[in-house]
């Protein structure tokens, strides 16, 4: 039985890895010039072809960014759901994306771009993370409910600030701001950092995976079975926040990936975090690669913000899952 289970786990991960590779191949072949599988194969391994440059300079960096962000968000979402023991939690529920958005929009309002935009949103995200932590920590007690409520309220505050900045911004800035808010990969061309962070995140999470499965059954229960809950809680709060901050900095606040992906995995194979965490990453990456490819091509040459596509895919999918779980 034990062997069977590990076999099932490895098969799932192999299947999801294959799915990720297929989605990447599909993404690489779609765009202003569509490539057949044979052309794609040639272009990948033949440096003299024109398409080789197209793939390695333009499409691949963007797709890898999308993959990394999807993986970051799905992992952060799975961690937040466990931390708050709330199935409706997502990476943004504690206001990280709100803080990042206020940071980014302020930079745009000042007319700066490039590095400053990245720095602004990252600082905003970190500030929000520390603010929520300090407020929720209060006089010692740090219950999941208190943390959740603090995060939701801080997020609402950021929402008001975002509206304020949009209201006072000149019209020329508005389009860029809206794209940032909805999530967009058109400026994401350096996937290196995000990919590295995802590997670090996984290296931190996987050794704690069994502890996280226990934490999802309640803090006291986890502690009674030998988990150092205080330390675990602290670690996943900061880890999930950092993952989210990196994702948001890369591509704005893309919704639904972090909420829906962990649930799809749970419905398929349960809540064992040893599988849930890596599987969520792979599926999150795959989903965002597909969504970004659609965002580039559906109304080509016009590009849509990828957040619109994830929401279009995510809303009906989530409603369907919710309905299905009510029925069973």
């Amino acid at each position: 039985m034990a062997v069977l289970r590990r076999k099932q786990f490895s098969l799932t991960l192999i299947g999801l890895t294959a799915l990720s590779l297929i989605s990447l191949a599909w993404g690489l072949s779609q765009g202003s010039i569509n490539l057949t599988p044979a052309q794609l194969w040639n272009a990948l391994f033949n440096a003299e072809q024109l398409e080789h440059r197209l793939i390695f300079d333009l499409r691949l960096p963007r797709l890898l960014s999308a993959f990394a962000v999807g993986a970051l968000l799905a992992l952060a979402g799975a961690l937040m759901q466990t931390l708050l023991r709330n199935p409706l939690a997502d990476p943004y529920v504690l206001g990280i994306s709100g803080g990042a958005a206020v940071g980014a929009l302020t930079i745009m309002l000042l007319g700066l771009t490039g590095f400053w935009l990245t720095a602004g949103s990252f600082v905003g995200a970190l500030f929000s993370m520390l603010l929520v932590f300090a407020l929720a920590h209060g006089q010692g007690s740090w219950t999941a409910t208190r943390l959740l409520l603090t995060g939701v309220i801080v997020a609402a505050g950021w929402g008001a600030l975002i509206s304020f900045i949009l209201a006072i911004s000149p019209d020329t800035n508005l389009r860029g701001m809206l794209f940032w808010l909805m999530g967009d990969f058109s400026h994401a061309s350096e996937p290196g950092t995000a990919l590295l962070i995802i590997l670090i995140g996984l290296a931190i999470c996987l050794p704690m995976a069994r502890n996280l499965t226990l934490l999802s059954r309640g803090e006291l229960q986890a502690q009674a079975l030998g988990v150092n809950v205080a330390r675990l809680r602290w670690t996943i709060y900061f880890l999930a926040s950092l993952l989210t901050a990196v994702a948001v900095t890369q591509a704005g606040s893309i919704g639904f990936v972090g909420l829906v992906v962990p649930h799809i995995i749970r419905l398929a194979i349960g809540n064992d975090q040893r599988l849930l965490l890596p599987a969520s990453m792979l599926l999150g990456g795959t989903l965002l690669v597909c969504a970004d490819t659609l965002a580039r091509t559906i109304l080509a040459p016009q590009q849509l913000p990828v957040g619109v596509i994830t929401a279009f895919l995510g809303v009906p999918l989530f409603l369907y899952l919710l309905r299905r779980s009510q029925l069973s």
Partner: protein, 255 residues
């Protein structure tokens, strides 16, 4: 050596004293009942003994070692806790839930072995849940969920069980069968049980010792015969009781 020992343990919840300078010694083979009115601090005391909560002052020793100096991991290898409620926010099968009992014995990268599965399946069989192995926990009835929580503890195989209302949600037959099972369990291999109960008669039937929490820090401990007197119980529950005696034994009925 005693399994669990408290020395001058003082405890309070939101300003109300639960116990003052309590010296308690739990020996292998004993089965303790913690009795008292609602909100008097039974659960708080139980959680403190399991190091899930800090006492105001005093010391607790588990198997001769100060519990403060042990990690939660070490404690979990010796001591299992049943909570009044189980949180099932996320999907999980009955077997997975039983298997979490093996957590204290697995190393970081270790997976549950075939032997761990067998321990869990054996425990499921003992509490008659074997046929529900693959069911989702949120589809279980209250009584089945309660027995599953006990199965997790049997899978954990600790030497000391701290049970918060183990008979919750159980029908009369299951109450008797579960308590009988636990009593037999406590006789094996130097084990002991501490449980909070609301039913004095069940306590008399299955426990060897009692700890009465009267409130305001007043506590009485001792064997069943010493502690469960009519006078003590009326003072404990602030309700008049009648003792009924028959050839089957004796029981208290509220009047």
């Amino acid at each position: 050596m005693s399994l669990l020992q408290s020395h001058k343990l003082s405890l309070s919840i939101s300003g109300k004293r639960v116990c003052d300078c309590l010296d308690l010694t739990i020996e292998p083979g004993q089965c303790w009942a913690i009795l008292g009115r609602n909100g008097i601090g039974k659960t708080t005391l139980l959680h403190t003994l399991a190091r899930l909560r800090q006492p105001d002052s005093g010391e607790i020793n588990l198997d001769g070692l100060n519990i403060k100096q042990l990690t939660h991991h070490r404690i979990a290898q010796q001591l299992g806790v049943l909570f009044q409620q189980q949180e099932d926010a996320f999907p999980s099968t009955v077997l997975e839930t039983a298997l979490i009992g093996r957590h204290p014995f697995l190393k970081t990268w270790q997976w549950e072995s075939e032997q761990d599965y067998n321990i869990a399946l054996e425990a499921l069989t003992q509490l008659q849940l074997k046929q529900l192995t693959e069911r989702q926990v949120n589809t279980l009835s209250g009584g089945e969920r309660q027995r599953l929580a006990l199965v997790t503890l049997l899978t954990q195989q600790p030497r000391l069980l701290l049970l918060d209302e183990p008979t919750n949600h159980l029908d009369i037959h299951q109450q008797m069968s579960v308590l009988k099972h636990l009593k037999n369990w406590s006789h094996l291999d130097k084990r002991a049980i501490v449980m909070t109960l609301h039913d004095v008669n069940l306590a008399m039937r299955f426990c060897t010792h009692a700890l009465l929490l009267f409130g305001h820090g007043e506590v009485e401990t001792g064997t069943m015969e010493e502690t469960l007197t009519e006078q003590n119980l009326e003072r404990l529950y602030l309700h008049p009781l009648t003792k009924v005696t028959g050839e089957w034994g004796q029981a208290y009925l509220p009047t």
